[in-house]
């Protein structure tokens, strides 16, 4: 017997539309699941039972009245805490925003509400989305439902773990260097970073504005595509959003599910293979088995050369902290959140410094200092400007590759979920988690991670990258790979009760 929480978002939406299930029953099932397992997994920073059930009841009334609702109406969703939600606490997992209740909704949240999706709550993350393990949350780490002694990836570990543990059928993540795809890979879930500008950043708490991209987290490609279409499209409140039609990702996911990739050319990056010593053998084995499956479905594998990818990691760790040091200047203890040291003796400037010292965690401070360094007089040309030029070369490598192939594939991340504490002592070891995901952020094109197999009993993800506004091909390839699996990998996660 399939429980409500075992159904995909597409199945739940159809059942609600057809009157076989009520949204209240569906939403209650996920809220009860949160009650049962989130004490162990700790994916949520805030749960809004009342608000979620109120939306669900409205949907049920609308269905009963015969209203024609959207494709995900009544299906509940969890939202990463870096996305502002009117009336719901939003902290970006930082102490500096503790207790802040936003007075407005992000554009993507407005669209989720317009789609009549109950919001279950806000998910945990690395503070300000800086990290690859959720260990840098100022509140608590989230545990991987597959092995609660291991990290769920980051920064969006809460969203990925919530979906992996079936506490939510869908979630929103944000991806600046891999924060949707890497947690997807290590928790056996699907995650998509859409084309930069394909959706709105309005109401996203800014980390690195030229890279930040919100996107869907789900159990399979079709569910991700349905959510992708809900949140995407031009927004005049974000001047970097693209005024162009949303790529047909739902149609592509359905086409891919037929399992035919005849005529599709998939690129493998020569320089990633040469740097294969960075990927664990178990990850490489699972990935290569996935590539074999794609070939059986008719795909042609073509080697492409992207020499600048070797420099993507240092390029990212100059650009992102530089933008972050500027974006995070707004946390000054005046307009929101924490204020420290305001005892009538300290000056405004001292209160700002004391507030930021008390409110930011170690990784955020490291990146602010790094960004301040890269932007300071005397270093800006050697570091920040140089990184922007190398970013151009990375984009050109992608553009050249996409004249030869339809999409590029790689492992999503070099290693399976690691144990807590394994990489926090050496930040550079943590940064390596995003080795394969960062290039797509530098370029701006879409990238998805789809579960491909297991290594040491832990999930491995395969990444599919596409050209700018070519999100549809990434969904098609991911759905085709899923069609080769008898049971979706996401459905084989061990139960987490009673651990």
């Amino acid at each position: 017997m399939t429980r409500i929480i075992d159904k995909t978002a597409a199945e739940l939406a159809a059942a609600i539309r057809d009157g076989d299930l009520t949204s209240v029953a569906v939403t209650t099932a996920f809220l009860d699941r949160i009650d049962a397992v989130d004490g162990t997994v700790k994916a949520f920073l805030h749960v809004d039972r009342e608000g979620a059930l109120a939306t669900a009841a409205e949907v049920d009334a609308a269905v009963a009245a015969g209203e024609d609702l959207g494709p995900l109406a009544g299906v509940p969703i969890a939202i990463k805490d870096v996305v502002v939600t009117k009336g719901l606490p939003t902290t970006a997992a930082s102490k500096i925003l503790e207790g802040w209740i936003p007075p407005y909704d992000a554009t993507i949240v407005e669209r989720i509400k317009a789609a009549r999706m109950p919001i279950l709550g806000k998910t945990n993350m690395d503070e300000f989305a800086m990290g690859s393990s959720t260990e840098y949350s100022a509140y608590f780490p989230t545990r991987n439902p597959w092995d609660t002694g291991r990290i769920p990836g980051g920064s969006g570990g809460g969203s990925a773990a919530a979906v992996a543990a079936k506490m939510a059928p869908l979630a929103i993540g944000t991806d600046t260097g891999g924060s949707i795809r890497q947690p997807g890979a290590v928790t056996g879930t699907f995650g998509a970073k859409p084309t930069y500008g394909g959706n709105s950043r309005y109401g996203l708490i800014a980390f690195s504005s030229s890279l930040d991209t919100p996107g869907p987290v789900s159990r399979n490609a079709l569910d991700g595509a349905l959510l992708h279409e809900v949140i995407s499209g031009y927004d005049p409140r974000d001047s970097t959003s693209i005024d162009a039609p949303v790529p047909p990702v739902v149609e592509a996911a359905k086409a891919g599910a037929n399992g035919d990739l005849t005529g599709v050319k998939l690129g493998v990056v020569k320089e990633f293979k040469e740097g294969a010593d960075a990927a664990e053998p178990g990850v490489v084995a699972a990935y290569e088995a996935g590539v074999e499956q794609l070939v059986k479905l008719g795909a042609e594998i073509v080697e492409v050369s992207c020499p600048s990818f070797a420099y993507a990691l240092p390029t990212y760790y100059l650009i992102a902290p530089s933008e972050a040091s500027s974006n995070l200047a707004r946390y000054d203890g005046v307009r929101y959140g924490l204020r420290a040291g305001d005892d009538g003796k300290h000056s405004l400037e001292e209160v700002m410094s004391l507030t930021r010292e008390a409110g930011f965690g170690p990784e955020v401070k490291r990146r602010i200092i790094l960004g301040t360094y890269a932007l300071s007089a005397g270093y800006v040309d050697a570091f920040y400007r140089k990184a922007q030029k190398v970013r151009t070369l990375i984009r050109q490598d992608f553009e050249k590759a996409f004249t030869q192939v339809d999409a590029i594939i790689s492992p999503t991340t070099p290693f399976i979920a690691f144990a807590f504490g394994a990489r926090t002592g050496d930040p550079y070891q943590m940064y390596l988690a995003d080795l394969y995901t960062i290039p797509a952020n530098m370029y701006g094109g879409p990238g998805v991670s789809v579960p491909v197999g297991l290594s040491e009993g832990m999930p491995v993800g395969l990444q599919v990258m596409g050209p700018v506004l070519g999100d549809d091909i990434t969904y098609r390839v991911a759905a085709a790979l899923e069609s080769t699996q008898d049971v979706l990998l996401a459905d084989t996660a061990p139960e987490t009760e009673g651990k």
Partner: protein, 99 residues
């Protein structure tokens, strides 16, 4: 040779308005050194004549009509601040007593 000294980190922290502790300075100086060493590899890349990329998707001059829109309600915005008075955010003194 290290690329960044403890004193430099302290200076950068001051510029960024971070009142870091001595322990943090010790930790950050070593960690930032490792990170910056990796960044020095960028010097190998020939970028002569390459235009910098500031944004993923090139856009120029995004304009919109200058139409008045309702702003957020003042009370709702002030409610998020740590200290307010007389419909404003209240801040600690800005100038020294002598000034």
């Amino acid at each position: 040779m290290s690329t960044i000294s403890r004193e430099e980190v302290a200076h950068l922290a001051r510029l960024a308005r971070l009142e870091v502790t001595d322990d943090e300075l010790d930790a950050f100086a070593g960690q930032l050194d490792v990170i910056l060493q990796s960044m020095k590899t960028l010097a190998e890349v020939d970028t002569d004549g390459v235009q910098p990329t500031s944004h993923a998707v090139p856009l120029v001059n995004v304009f919109r009509e200058d139409q008045p829109q309702p702003s957020l309600p003042r009370d709702a915005v002030l409610a998020g601040g740590p200290d307010t008075a007389e419909d404003r955010f209240r801040v600690p003194r800005i100038l020294d007593e002598e000034a």
